[in-house]
């Protein structure tokens, strides 16, 4: 089941310095990550934990202080790797004086695409993100969600193999969010690799195959979403149509076996609980890696 590694970071560290070279923030501390072909990988973490920094390092927008970031087995600073990457920034950093068509056409030209290919691709993408009705308007007139959509379209202009999304669902309406999630899954099904970071845990839980949780620049947890969310020391018994007497009997049977009934009802183990737990533990024991169970899967 081991497939090709698309993104690899080794001991990746980033220290922001000020003008005089004094150390300001250690935004990322010795990060080791691997993202494999065909998976949706989520980066989680509270504000300021280094998610965007990681992504920028992977795209060569920042240079690592120490360590290495490899994308497609090439150094992240090399430009040619970008031919196979699509990037949706945190906010859509697009030229506000261009309209949707001009924007997409411009980025198409940056991929050295010929005019005919560009025209086709631009029309398809505008159609896909549902901006057909506003394609001749300058981006400065766009709403936040519309800008987000055109940002997504620009990230897909080259039919990339690796898609990097920095908080893809912010600013989107519920339908847009749903569409975005469907799109991410569809891209994965087409064999593409997606790296995304987000706060919206429900979204991450819905789409991600594997996640990594960062806290203050350190990796706290990494693994498959389904196994991470499996609460190992808790056994869940789901029974349908059990009577109150039956429940009492089961309870007694558990206590006989030194079990301890926590709660009887519908379990609510979600990513949210896991996330909060990890953050809380990290605050209590700074520096310690919270080893997860899904690590080696």
């Amino acid at each position: 089941m081991q497939s090709e590694i698309i993104i690899e970071t080794r001991n990746l560290t980033k220290v922001y310095r000020d003008f005089w070279g004094r150390q300001k923030v250690r935004a990322l501390k010795a990060l080791d990550l691997e993202v494999r072909r065909g998976e949706i990988f989520g980066l989680l973490g509270p504000n300021g934990s280094g998610k965007t920094t990681t992504i920028k390092l992977l795209l060569g927008l920042l240079f690592p202080t120490t360590g290495q970031a490899l994308v497609f087995d090439r150094d992240a600073r090399e430009v040619t790797k970008n031919e196979r990457i699509g990037y949706l920034p945190e906010e859509s950093y697009l030229y506000r004086f261009l309209n949707a068509e001009e924007t997409l056409d411009f980025y198409g030209r940056l991929f050295n695409m010929s005019r005919a290919v560009r025209r086709q691709r631009v029309a398809d993408l505008i159609e896909m993100v549902g901006l057909d009705w506003a394609k001749r308007r300058q981006l400065k007139e766009y709403s936040k969600g519309m800008t987000r959509r055109i940002g997504l379209a620009q990230a897909l202009i080259n039919d990339p193999e690796l898609i990097v999304l920095d908080e893809p669902t912010t600013g989107l309406d519920p339908i847009g969010t749903r569409e975005m999630k469907d799109l991410i899954i569809k891209l994965r099904d087409e064999g593409k690799t997606v790296l995304l970071c987000s706060h919206l845990l429900a979204d991450v839980q819905d789409v991600c195959d594997r996640i990594a949780i960062l806290y203050q620049g350190e990796l706290k947890e990494m693994g498959r979403v389904d196994s991470l969310l499996k609460v190992q020391d808790v056994t869940e018994i789901r029974v349908a149509g059990l009577s109150a007497i039956g429940q009492e009997e089961v309870k007694q049977a558990i206590e006989r076996n030194n079990g301890h009934v926590l709660n009887i009802g519908n379990p609510t183990t979600t990513l949210e609980d896991l996330f909060l737990k990890i953050i809380r533990e990290s605050e209590e024991h700074p520096g310690r890696r919270v080893r997860g169970v899904g690590e080696k899967t």
Binding site: Y16, K56, L59, G60, L61, L62, F63, R74, D75, E78, V79, T80, K81, N82, E83, I85, Y87, P89, E91, S92, Y93, L94, Y95, F97, L98, F106, Y107, R109, L110, F111, N112, Q154, N158
Partner: protein
């Protein structure tokens, strides 16, 4: 239309040194072979490199790094050995003598080889100097960068990194994609439009409208005034505009983070830089084209005027009793001047030159002599000869003293700067110009002489009339005892270009009529002598004061060349602005570009300051002089303060020298507007020379900008 980019010899002399034709390399055959090989090799390399992917491999990086390091070490050792062994006292240190001989021999043979290949004057050629500077600068960067890397990661890794840096640099330049550069240039144009470049037009038109009131067409040389004005205005506007555009653009993109979206596409830093330069150059080109056309019509219209001749105001002149009469008078006053009008008895009329132009009569001059003309007014045509592009043929000037003997200088009349030397009137003193390249084909009507003479009067004489002078011809190949033949007597005009025609048919003293070319021209050479006829008056002349006007080039074409000069300057400013904007924030980049522009304009002063050619010492010393109110020419009092100040001045001077050496001399670019304004054709080789100069700066600026941007963290 005459496009005079034909004679490239001066250009090549400038590029390749004075004796370049001697070099074996420049023989047609070897040059062709060399160039073909060079081009084919380059093409092969480019094609190969463009096909490849990824960055420089490990092996290639090591090879490049090691090779460059070895070359630098070798050259450095060579220079050190040569300096130590040869310039040090080699005789005293006996054991180094063989080495010294070896070094000297090596140097000589190297030098000989180069001379054989490139001609003996090659080291004066601009091209080699340029290569030398570029290679030294690159080597310096390589050494500094390599040492820094060696300190951090050890020597082997450092060699590999620096080698890779060079390799990647070459790859990034070779693999530039025209489509991407086109897209980025298009973006730069769009951005400029968004920044309301159009406003500059409005400003320009407004300035012209106001200027229409203030520019005085009654000026002594109105064409110069108008041309100077439009060229300067356009120049300043366009240069300032591109300065702001180019130095604000990248910082704005970095600040708004739009650059993030660009550099995460497969766009090389070289393409970002080149795209900007191309885009802003396109903007400047369009602006200059439109402004040029507008200015042209502005100048034409501002100078256009006609006069009338009121027939009744003309006086009748009797040349001899009983002979038919001529008439004389002046035209009406327009643009604050009148022209003298002379109609001779045979009905040939002439309007004299005033303010550098004359007019033609639209009708027949004979009518003015007849009775019918009474009470009539005659309209003159458009001004002619105002907007000119003279193509001068300059001669070499020599002087004769009052006895007619050759002398190396004329008289210095004392009250003027030494530019002109003076010849005495009423004596045999003469100024002798020898012109070359005089052929019948070029001057089929005779020799058109343009003169600007300085006049020095020891007595007033008739102040209304000019001082009388004479022009004489002599064959330079004739024996020393052959006297020059007088061909024309004229009345000098002060402060104006006086144009005279020496006709082909010359009457010799013994009354024979001879052809100028047969009698006075040998091997295309002719001597023209100038004498002052009036006793005790003097003519002041310098070499450029007399030239033959081969023909007039089309003025509009010359005007366009003037704008091309502005364009070149604009290109330089754009490259500077883009360079600074790759590593500075917006306001600082503007300031830096502006500083570089000023530094370039005052290049000469900086250089003199740095090389002790000014009074008052370096910056600190002159500051102390200001504080202590000392004269700039007096020596500073010896003492601790003086020593301290002068020592501290050394690094400042070195800095200035470095700046002056790095910055282009921008003040020279005004040769374009000067030529246009003064009515001279801008020679083709001047254009080529300045084009080469500009690109010689733009190319390294481009590479520097590319390196800065590549090594910048865009997301900081």
């Amino acid at each position: 239309m005459v496009i005079d980019i034909t004679d490239v010899t001066p250009l090549f002399t400038w590029l390749l040194g004075p004796e370049w034709t001697e070099g074996r390399l420049f023989h047609p055959l070897s040059l062709t072979v060399f160039l073909l090989l060079l081009i084919a090799g380059l093409l092969w390399l480019v094609v190969r490199l463009r096909k490849g992917h990824g960055s420089t491999g490990r092996g290639a990086a090591m090879a490049i790094g090691g090779g460059s390091a070895a070359a630098i070490v070798l050259v450095a050792l060579g220079i050190i050995a040569w300096k130590l062994l040869l310039l040090g006292k080699a005789e005293e240190i006996a054991w180094t003598l063989p080495l010294a001989n070896f070094a000297e021999g090596l140097r000589n043979s190297c030098f000989k080889g180069l001379q054989w290949l490139l001609g003996s004057g090659w080291h004066q050629g601009a091209l080699y100097c340029w290569f030398l500077v570029i290679i030294s600068a690159a080597a310096a960067v390589f050494v500094v960068g390599g040492l820094a890397a060696a300190l951090r990661r050890g020597p082997i890794k450092a060699l590999e990194t620096s080698g890779r840096a060079i390799g990647d640099c070459a790859l990034d330049v070779v693999r530039i994609s025209p489509r991407r550069v086109g897209a980025l240039a298009w973006l730069a144009v769009k951005e400029s439009i968004r920044r309301r470049v159009v406003v500059v037009f409005a400003v320009f038109i407004l300035i012209l409208l106001f200027a229409g009131w203030y520019l005085d067409p009654g000026n002594i040389d109105p064409a110069r005034l108008y041309l100077n004005f439009v060229l300067t205005t356009t120049g300043y506007l366009v240069i300032l505009l591109v300065l702001f555009l180019s130095s604000l653009s990248l910082p704005a993109d970095i600040k708004s983070r739009t650059l993030h979206t660009i550099v995460t596409k497969p766009v090389r830093s070289s393409e970002v830089v080149l795209g900007r330069i191309a885009g802003f150059t396109a903007v400047a080109t369009c602006l200059l084209l439109i402004m040029g056309v507008i200015s042209y019509f502005f100048v034409e219209r501002g100078l256009a005027h006609t006069h009338e001749i009121d027939a009744d105001s003309l006086k009748t002149v009797e040349y001899a009793v009983g002979r038919p009469t001529g008439r004389q008078g002046v035209t009406t006053l327009v643009h604050e001047h009148r022209h003298k009008v002379v109609v001779d008895p045979s009905g040939n009329g002439r309007v004299e030159i005033e303010q550098g132009h004359r007019h033609e009569l639209e009708g027949d001059w004979k009518e003015l002599l007849s009775k019918e003309s009474a009470g009539k007014k005659y309209q003159l045509g458009r001004p002619e000869g105002m907007l000119l592009a003279r193509v001068p043929v300059y001669g070499k000037l020599a002087y004769r003293d009052r006895k007619g003997e050759p002398t190396d200088k004329g008289i210095n009349v004392g009250d003027e700067w030494t530019y002109r030397s003076y010849i005495e009137g009423g004596s045999l003193a003469a100024a002798v110009w020898t012109f070359q390249g005089i052929t019948e084909e070029r001057f089929s009507d005779g020799l058109p002489v343009d003169m600007t003479l300085g006049i020095f009067r020891t007595h007033k004489g008739d102040i209304e009339k000019g001082v009388t002078g004479s022009l004489l011809l002599r064959n330079p190949r004739a024996g020393a005892d052959v006297k020059p033949t007088e061909v024309q007597i004229f009345e000098s005009k002060e402060f104006q270009i006086d144009n005279r025609l020496i006709p082909r048919e010359v009457r010799t003293p013994d009354g024979k009529k001879v052809d100028l070319f047969k009698e006075f021209v040998s091997d295309g050479e002719v001597e023209i002598w100038l004498r002052c006829v009036d006793m005790a008056q003097y003519f002041g002349v310098a070499q450029a004061d007399m030239y033959l006007r081969a023909h007039n080039a089309p003025f509009a074409w010359n005007f366009a060349k003037g704008y091309f000069g502005i364009w070149l300057l604009g290109l330089l400013v754009i490259a500077l602005g883009v360079l600074f904007s790759t590593f500075l924030s917006a306001p600082v980049a503007v300031l830096a570009t502006f500083g570089a522009l000023l530094g370039g304009l005052f290049h000469d002063f900086m250089f003199r300051l740095a090389t002790h050619q000014t009074y008052g010492g370096g910056p600190l010393e002159s500051f102390v002089r200001i504080l202590t109110q000392q004269n700039v020419t007096s020596e500073m009092e010896p003492g601790l303060r003086t020593t301290l100040v002068q020592t501290l001045d050394q690094p400042a001077k070195f800095g200035l020298w470095l700046l002056a050496a790095v910055l282009p001399d921008l003040s020279r670019f005004n040769v374009f507007s000067k030529c246009v304004a003064y009515g001279f054709n801008i020679p083709g080789d001047t254009i080529l020379t300045y084009t080469c100069r500009t690109f010689a700066f733009v190319l390294p600026l481009f590479v520097a900008a590319y390196l800065c941007l590549k090594n910048r963290e865009v997301a900081r």
